[in-house]
Amino acid sequence: MQSNPDHDNYRSAQKRKLALRRLSPLMTILFLLLLWQWLSDRELVSPILVPPPADVYAAFAAALDDGSLVKHTLVTLGEMLYGLLLGVAIGLVLGYAIAKAPLLEYILSPIIVAFQSTPIVAYAPLLIIWFGTGPTSKIVTTAVIVFFPSLVNAIVGIRSVSPRLRDLMTSLNAGPWRAFRLLELPSALPVILAGLKTSTTLAVIGAVVGEFVSAGSGLGYLVTTARYQFDTPLVIVSVLTMTAIALSLYSLVAYVEWRSLAWQRRSAA
């Protein structure tokens, strides 16, 4: 096949545009790092408030060396994952039940609305009183905060299943399990995965807020103790670690979404 030079030009222009788009976020990060270095070099801000990058790196290396960073990260990560699992599971199951039996929504609405409209920082201390200062209270805090988006997305997802497709499944004499697996689940999946992405970032908040209130380990605990010791570099290291956790989990779910919703991309093309 003869290639048309106009098309080739168009294609390479598209490629350049795409590469630029991919690189832009990295450029932003690089710029911020350089700005940070420059501010410190000129001593425009106090090193107590914004320590130079080298100090932060040193704090990072030290925390990594003595194993404390890994230990605290694993604690927070564990609380988050268990909390996510618990909150998402209960949210999805209850959401499915509510979508199927609207009466349940009326029965449960006072509890759900109360949970949703109270700020997490307000009931975190209460959860500490009930579940102790160990990881359990943080797991519960995380579960509570991720529960609501999962619930809502399950309800919305299941209720938006096409009634005509339901008719199709009925005409095929599909039982409830097959209707769930072949119709309801795949139909609701885009909404549920979008909700799960939100939930991962909320999970970090849940675990860390719990640790702020009272804890003996975890990244939230690390921030609190470093702050009391005016160890700003260590505070920054802990905060950046939380960011890294949140971003990794978010990307993981985004990847799962990307893989399982290939049909949507191809349908849109």
């Binding site: 005509r164 497709l165 199709l168 004499n173 049909w263 349908s267 849109a268």
Partner: protein, 253 residues
């Protein structure tokens, strides 16, 4: 499968709570292996009739019967093709056609083997991995038809299967439908608002009135089979379509 409706009436409640009759009272019966077309103007209750026959909608009064039994739920021997293609957008062509087999608990290897045997007849061999949104209107209709055929139904209930297509595609699909049915003999009820389509395909045309649809004519189509596209220019064909048109025009008056 013999299908019959007797004194069938379907009414829907409108938003004000009043009962709005959309179909009937009507009675007719379609014998085993017969191809009947139900012809009627838009909104006369054709889709409603198909849904009752498919066991998806309980009638307000009267009943539908299959082989003498009252239809109260979807029959395993009957397959419905919906007015729009009603495909699952997240499933490929292969998996959409295989859906009834998967619901029936047939293994993946068996499902795919049976669907792949069907694909050439449907002119879909090269598209088994395509998603519905990637198909043309005609191909999507073929997939929906394949989903009916794969069930090996004794009764086909087709709701305006070619309604949304351009004239040329519609014409070729009509003849494909006759070929697909030619092998095994089954009872067919096809709903349409196209007179030529009804006469070209059917053994019998049942003409419905405007809403609420009732039978205004029941006409035997004694044209020879196999039918061909150019039959529409034959004298007998024209006489039949003219007769049917007169029943429909009467309605309008």
């Amino acid at each position: 499968m013999k299908l019959r409706v007797e004194d069938l009436v379907v009414s829907f409640r409108n938003p004000d709570g009043e009962l709005l009759p959309v179909l009937g009272p009507l009675s007719f019966s379609v014998s085993d292996n017969e191809f009947a077309c139900v012809l009627g103007p838009s909104g006369c209750g054709k889709s409603t009739l198909i849904q009752v026959l498919a066991g998806l909608l309980p009638p307000t009064s009267g009943a539908a019967y299959s082989d003498g039994q009252v239809i109260t739920r979807p029959l395993s021997g009957a397959a419905i093709m919906f007015q729009d293609t009603n495909l699952l957008p997240w499933r490929t062509v292969l998996d959409n056609i295989a859906l009834p087999l998967e619901v029936a608990g047939i293994s993946r290897a068996d499902r795919y083997r049976r669907v792949r045997k069907l694909l050439p007849q449907l002119n879909l061999e090269d598209f088994e991995r395509a998603y519905p949104a990637e198909l043309s209107g005609g191909m999507a209709q073929r997939v929906a038809l394949g989903r009916v055929i794969v069930q090996k139904p004794r009764a086909w209930l087709l709701d305006e299967p070619f309604g949304a297509l351009d004239a040329l595609t519609r014409e070729s699909l009509r003849l494909e439908l006759l070929q697909l049915r030619a092998g095994a003999r089954q009872t067919l009820i096809l709903v349409t608002h196209d007179i030529n389509e009804a006469v070209l395909l059917a053994d019998r045309v049942i003409v419905l009135s405007r809403r609420p649809g009732a039978v205004v004519a029941d006409i035997e189509i004694a044209l020879p089979r196999p039918r061909a596209a150019d039959m529409i220019y034959q004298r007998e064909f024209l006489l039949l379509t003219k007769e049917i048109r007169s029943y429909i025009d009467e309605q309008r008056a």
